[in-house]
Symmetry: C2
Subunit: 346 residues, 2 copies
DNA sequence: AACGAGGATGAAAGCGCTTACAGGCCGAGC
DNA sequence: GCTCGGCCTGTAAGCGCTTTCATCCTCGTT
């Protein structure tokens, strides 16, 4: 029923090798045979069998992308960039989206299975040294996005710098008591953003105050990168100052937009509106932030995805090249939550 | 270097057939040999070769999802549902995201290639009879999401009903002049939503007025499903009533949330705020709508994805079953743009 | 003690394609 | 006229795994 190269070979009175040659370009085939083969293939509706080609060629034409949770706008943007680049080089995209950070390991394992894909993009997932060793040993090309390991190509953002810029912006608006909303302590980017926050405080001659920082206890399975976690974190922060509103932070830096969005909600319920009663700055610049009027630090997500795919494709062609790292600088996008009246149309 | 079943066979002093049996469960193998094989495999770090398995088993364990543009929040939600379901049955997801509606054909062609995947989910893409015939002939299982064709399983929403509910809501709020913002005429769901709009007008004893309806001229490559298209459509609508504000529509139904969001922007620039000067209702309930306070008709996107994947998986097991169609009812979510003060935390 | 039933295992034939390697053929060079 | 060098094309050996079919044992029966 399905037509194979044998059928074509028979129809065109040539060997299967010749048919294969015709379809693979390389190798010289006389014009007459080529035409004949093509004609027969056309009339039979031939289409090569992907699995068979993968097996024989020892490459699949597939790239897998491993991301923690499909839910996140951040990952979607990254994947969009990846797609863009992959389309250009005739690679198809296999998406391994975990439900929680804990299940990423499992997805990664599937993604790197022999014969599954030619390379993998690992997004927002720190690589333990042990896992790194396993990966390196497997020899499969890997590019890290939004995380870093010396042995693998990577594309990430200067989180620390971003934290600093966020706080500088707030300090510039006159704030002295600036709160910090952190997702899980386990998130390296979040820790770096906090470091940036601390840097800026120090530079401004302000004391770091533990009473102004809260790390969420919620949604640990997503490392706290959820609206609800932000909502709860903000509630917790506000609760600390019940009865003494004068000591309350006048601004808050949330280490992720989703958290900031939840925080805005919590603040709203407590009767606090940004920027009237409180300034808020997030991090990422996901699409919803535009509508929420959230000031934030923009990560060029799609661009990062595109570059990561680019690096991966290059590495497929040139294995063994030393690892290269690219770091992007986040840019401040001032919106209503820090007093900017700007409306945009993304 | 890579370890194959031959290596294990040799190490465990059995034939490759036995090794294969051990890994595939079925077929009886004595406990002692099984242990031996497993032990050797373990120590050698064996992992089956996906392409080889695909070729021999004549199935890939992959499902492809074809969607027009990765950009859209709608598709991402659908995919999330798909992922959820697929994880459960050990299938991996191949994503074919087109850049524009015009390139969907090409992506579909790749998705259905022999040996590429076991089945395909085609999202928001109407099937021409010719394409339908080709697909049917290929015998590859297909499930349609957000579109309909009698010959294939499908999951979609009652767009017409949604349009009606939207307008009923507006009529209920006292509106008599209700505008309509349409993406491309080529979008079947959009046309159905318009039909619903017309139904409701008629039921309310209101005349349908072409002067109140505008179909966007922009972003045709995305069938008008963009913020910018909504922005322009709204501008065009408002322009028609320049100089005679009393004749202006007091409410607008945009056939897609993205359009509604752009429309809100255009209205804002014209000094019109919802719901003060104008009510707005969208369709879809994408995430940003929550933040924009947009009243809309919610589609259970993830649920639709999940069900579609479910149908596809079932069909893999039971080919030849007659096509089944499932239609969901959209639900009205009243928010600020039609006067509801509700704040939510998704 | 002979026989049959089953269970465990191996041999081998694919799955559909790629790719050395080896001819075969033909014109050019001497 | 003969040889040599190229160009085409065919032969055949995989790629790594699954799966029938046949074979060989081991017991339980009678």
């Amino acid at each position: 029923m399905p037509v194979t190269i044998y059928d074509i070979a028979e129809g065109a009175r040539v060997s299967i090798a010749t048919v294969s040659r015709v379809f693979n370009g390389h190798a010289r085939v006389s014009d007459s045979t080529r035409d004949r083969v093509l004609r027969v293939a056309e009339s039979l509706g031939y289409e090569p069998h992907a699995s068979a080609q993968s097996l024989a060629r020892r490459q699949t034409g597939l790239i897998s992308a491993v991301v923690p949770m499909m839910t996140s706008a951040f990952f979607m943007e990254v994947l969009r960039g990846v797609q863009d680049r992959l389309d250009a080089s005739h690679h198809d995209l296999l998406v391994y989206a975990a439900r929680t950070v804990a299940t990423v390991e499992g997805q990664l394992a599937r993604a790197v299975q022999r014969g599954r894909s030619d390379g993998v993009l690992l997004v927002s997932t720190p690589l333990s040294d042990q896992r790194a060793a396993t990966l390196a040993a497997s020899g499969r090309p890997v590019v890290l996005v939004d995380s870093y390991h010396p042995d693998f190509d990577s594309v990430f953002i200067d989180n620390r710098r971003g934290g600093t810029v966020a706080v500088e912006h707030l300090v510039g608006r006159g704030h002295r008591r600036i709160g910090l909303l952190m997702p899980s302590e386990e998130s390296a980017p979040a820790r770096q953003r906090r470091d940036g926050y601390l840097d800026a405080l120090a530079a401004a001659g302000l004391d770091a105050d533990d009473g102004l920082m809260v790390t969420t206890d919620w949604d640990h399975e997503h490392h706290g990168y959820t609206r609800f976690a932000g909502y709860r974190a903000m509630q917790a922060l506000l609760a600390r100052f019940e009865g003494r509103p004068d000591a309350r932070p006048t601004a808050v830096f949330a280490a992720a937009d989703v958290m900031a969005l939840g925080a805005l909600r919590a603040a709203g319920e407590a009767g606090l509106r940004a920027p009237r009663d409180l300034d808020v700055v997030g991090f990422d610049d996901i699409e919803s932030s535009t509508y929420a009027g959230l000031t934030t630090l923009r990560q060029p997500m799609a661009e990062m995805g595109r570059l990561a795919a680019e690096k991966l494709v290059r590495r497929l062609e040139t294995p063994g090249a030393p690892a290269q790292h690219t770091v992007f600088a986040p840019t401040l996008v001032a919106r209503q939550t820090t007093g900017s009246p700007v409306l945009e149309l993304a």
